[in-house]
Symmetry: C2
Subunit: 148 residues, 2 copies
């Protein structure tokens, strides 16, 4: 486990607002913003994982407003000084941060709560299957055995 | 109760994806998209309401990925052919649609579920208190007595 270059975590505010809360996600003036392609939610059941996936062009901005999600990232960019580094990040309302992931990073994520484990991705380009690659959770390329 | 001009509802897809779902919110190619200013979440407790609020410039795109929220909209635009019309819309995963609200419409919303009642607003401009007006839930301007 280590720290991957170009991956950023940005603390986000949760503001009490009457009988509820306002929870920030992303503003167009922030450095994490790289254009708006699409916003979508992805949910994952407790103790199960989705991945691996790597984008060739998309920059992802990931926020977890519900539940608890463990992200595993793997830097497979040969020119990166953090090449072959694996990084783990757990996000939830208790650790409410925005995770910005550049292209070229393999990512998988796992639900850690009995509540709805939900992420919002505000991505720089709309969904395009031709710019994404997938691998099964167990494979011979990513040196991480953390998913059952 | 009626139908207000310029307010649109767009059905959104929920796609089973392994041990979870992918839930669409907004793409930059859709007609509801009017630029990206900010994305934020707002939660509201069951049986309680937030509002009223009216924006002078912001176009809101509202999606409810968790819980159940009742929106009440009031058209206070004198030049509108639906002037003084009140409209109610209830959104949830069971009625998973995107509600697009133009400037000039008063809006309030109420939580209807014991789960987390949560909306995502993808707004055309970032939060700016100078372009929003507020009224208490009970007031002499909006002819709607539906909130306790």
């Amino acid at each position: 486990m280590g720290i991957i270059n170009d991956i950023t975590l940005t603390p986000l505010k949760i503001i009490p607002a009457g009988s509820g809360e306002v929870m920030h996600a992303l503003k167009n003036s922030e450095t994490s913003f790289h254009g708006f392609g699409e916003a979508y939610f992805s949910t994952v059941s407790n103790h199960t994982a989705k991945g691996w996936k790597r984008h060739l062009r998309m920059i992802s901005n990931l926020i977890v407003p519900s539940g608890r999600i463990r992200f595993i990232l793997y830097d497979d960019r040969p020119a990166s000084s953090s090449f072959s580094v694996v990084q783990e990040i757990i996000l939830s309302k208790e650790n409410y941060q925005r995770l910005t992931v550049p292209p070229g990073i393999w990512m998988a994520f796992e639900g850690l709560s009995d509540e709805t484990n939900m992420l919002l991705n505000i991505s720089s380009i709309p969904h395009d299957p031709t710019e994404a690659e997938s691998l099964p959770l167990k494979n011979d390329i990513i040196p991480f055995a953390g998913f059952e």
